[in-house]
């Protein structure tokens, strides 16, 4: 069985974001980088599937500058067999269509039985790339999964809907699935596996070799949201803060009445 998992490296969402000089995206300096949280669930599910079926080859794919290789190493340490790095220093300027065309271009003649992606990225949050890749490859896609099982070429899954409701769905492979938070419990790489990961294959392909498609979206401007008046901001010593809060709760709410 051949499995592909697609991951993205994103900044820690607790970071302070500044708009870059070109006004096209955030400034990349001074950020801590990590694996997109949704993709951690995708990697975990792919590794679990590999362990379940035994005979499987699991490739992790990531697009970006050399910096993203650090995140790929985490996926290798979690249990992926090989890394496919698409070297592109300007991937942040590409839209979901252009990104998906690169992944589909890579995957099209490799016969993957299953492709895993996160349901969206934490920084862009478009929730498009996974479905676009599947549509480009002409295979079914199941999205927003919170449960996944596989047996004999069939995927049985549950997708998350609004209000805590789930839909039970299934399809046959080859297929692509997008993973929602809570699908599983992503493992922490162990030290021996981190050491082993260093020896695993990691091949970089220059983006130009995959004949990238042009983006269909134009970015006009990137800016922090306008502050909408907003509420009162209190800072200071915790004991003083507690007193102030109690005073406010007494005056503005009936909570302490």
């Amino acid at each position: 069985m051949k499995i592909l998992v697609c991951i993205k490296q994103v900044p820690d969402m607790e970071s302070k974001f500044k708009v870059n000089a070109a006004g096209s995206w955030y400034e990349e300096t001074d950020l801590a980088w990590r694996m997109n949280e949704y993709d951690e669930y995708a990697v975990e599910q792919a590794v679990q599937l590999k362990q379940q079926v035994g005979e499987a080859d699991l490739t992790v794919l990531c697009i970006g500058s050399d910096r993203v290789k650090e995140t790929m190493k985490k996926a290798l340490a979690m249990g992926c067999d090989r890394g496919a790095h698409i070297a592109d220093d300007e991937s942040y300027l590409k839209d979901p269509y252009a990104i998906a065309s690169l992944i589909a271009g890579f995957a099209k003649d490799k016969g993957f039985d299953l492709i895993f992606t996160g349901m969206q990225s934490q920084d862009r949050g478009s929730a498009q790339v996974g479905v676009l890749v599947a549509e480009m490859l002409g295979i079914p896609s199941l999205t927003t999964l919170v449960e996944f099982s596989y047996a004999d070429g069939t995927i049985n899954a549950k997708r998350e809907l609004e209000g805590g409701i789930k839909a039970k769905i299934s399809c046959t492979t080859p297929a692509l699935v997008t993973c929602q938070l809570g699908l599983n419990t992503p493992r922490y790489p162990t030290l021996p596996n981190i050491m082993k990961a260093k020896k695993k294959e990691m091949i970089s392909t220059p983006v130009a070799e995959l004949s990238p498609e042009a983006s269909l979206l134009e970015v006009i401007q990137v800016a922090p949201p306008e502050k909408k008046g907003g509420g009162l901001i209190l800072e200071g010593d915790p004991a003083d803060l507690a007193d102030q809060l109690i005073k406010i709760l007494k005056e503005k709410t009936t909570a302490l009445a």
Partner: protein
């Protein structure tokens, strides 16, 4: 400009997002027609042409089939924009349509600005103003961003769309949310724990504050996903929608899915170390502090009242 609005339907009922689609089209000053895979028993309040495909024939969840039906209607109507809710139905269907049309897709629109569309990024800390470079575009709307002031009214002119069976995904029914646990929608005071509590042991702190305020405790999605709190405590799009008199958000950054579940609270107090956290957008008071210090002191002082 002409838009085609895609309404959604689930489990024998039209979902309440069609009003937001209509309001968006009117804010754009655009003409509209509507598309629905649903049933005549539950039609949207809409004065316009409604292309209706029968859900009994097309299937409740059958995206490749819904895609084909929608593409036929697009062919007839020739809209410049196809608009869907950014929901589990919309974000699944939209890219399928976009690729078939080779159209730019703009996800989770929150605002129209200077004729361009604005979408959030990085947990709402940034906003991108974007424009489609294609003649037709596919757009999904963030839930609640275009809620109309008044409920729409009207009766649609129904045009039936023929369905031919097909599809590559089998739908096996719905699984309802687990019942039992606490009904937070009736609570008057809720104290919720977010990722900022750091470790499961700290949930006790939040429970104690909730007790001191004679309320219930809730949790954000990451806390539930980490199994620090039960799913029945989850506040947000995929959990419960709450409207208490007082909502205390402890260590919750304010992901849109969480805000959607609690922003109608009468009074919101947020405790967060990050002054710029998006929870500040809906908070009446934001106390910039480490909850692990502030929450125990606040609880103690409340208990001493």
């Amino acid at each position: 400009m002409k838009t085609l609005l895609v309404a959604e339907y689930r489990d024998s009922e039209l979902l309440g997002t069609s009003g937001e689609l209509i309001n968006f089209a009117s804010q754009l000053g655009a003409e509209s027609a509507m598309f629905l895979v649903g049933s005549e028993n539950s039609l949207p309040d809409y004065n316009g042409k409604l292309y209706l495909a029968d859900i009994g024939q097309a299937g409740e969840f059958n995206p490749s089939q819904h895609k084909q039906l929608l593409l036929e209607v697009i062919e007839k109507e020739q809209p410049q924009m196809v608009v869907l809710p950014h929901s589990s139905y919309g974000w699944d269907l939209a890219p399928r349509i976009a690729l078939a049309l080779k159209a730019a897709q703009i996800s989770e629109v929150v605002e129209i600005k200077d004729g361009n569309l604005v979408v959030p990024s990085c947990n709402s800390k940034l906003r991108r103003q974007v424009k489609a470079a294609t003649d037709i575009s596919v757009v999904t709307l963030q839930g609640g961003a275009f809620t109309p002031m008044e409920d729409p009214s009207g009766t649609p002119e129904v045009v039936k769309v023929e369905v031919v069976a097909g599809g590559d995904i089998q739908f096996g029914g719905y699984e309802e949310a687990e019942s039992g646990g606490v009904d937070l929608s009736k609570a008057e005071i809720i104290v919720s724990a977010g990722r900022g509590i750091g470790k499961p042991e700290n949930l006790a702190m939040i429970e104690n504050l909730a007790k001191a305020l004679k309320g219930e405790y809730g949790a954000s999605r990451p806390v539930v996903d980490a199994e620090w709190a039960d799913q029945s405590r989850q506040v947000g799009t995929t959990g419960q929608t709450v409207t208490p008199k007082l909502y205390v958000a402890c260590g919750i950054s304010g992901a849109i899915q969480h805000l959607a579940g609690m922003k109608k609270s009468e009074f919101v107090l947020a405790i967060n170390t990050d002054k710029d956290a998006p929870i500040g957008e809906v908070a009446d008071v934001l106390a910039v502090a480490d909850l692990k210090q502030l929450v125990p002191i606040l609880t103690e002082k409340l208990n001493a009242l």
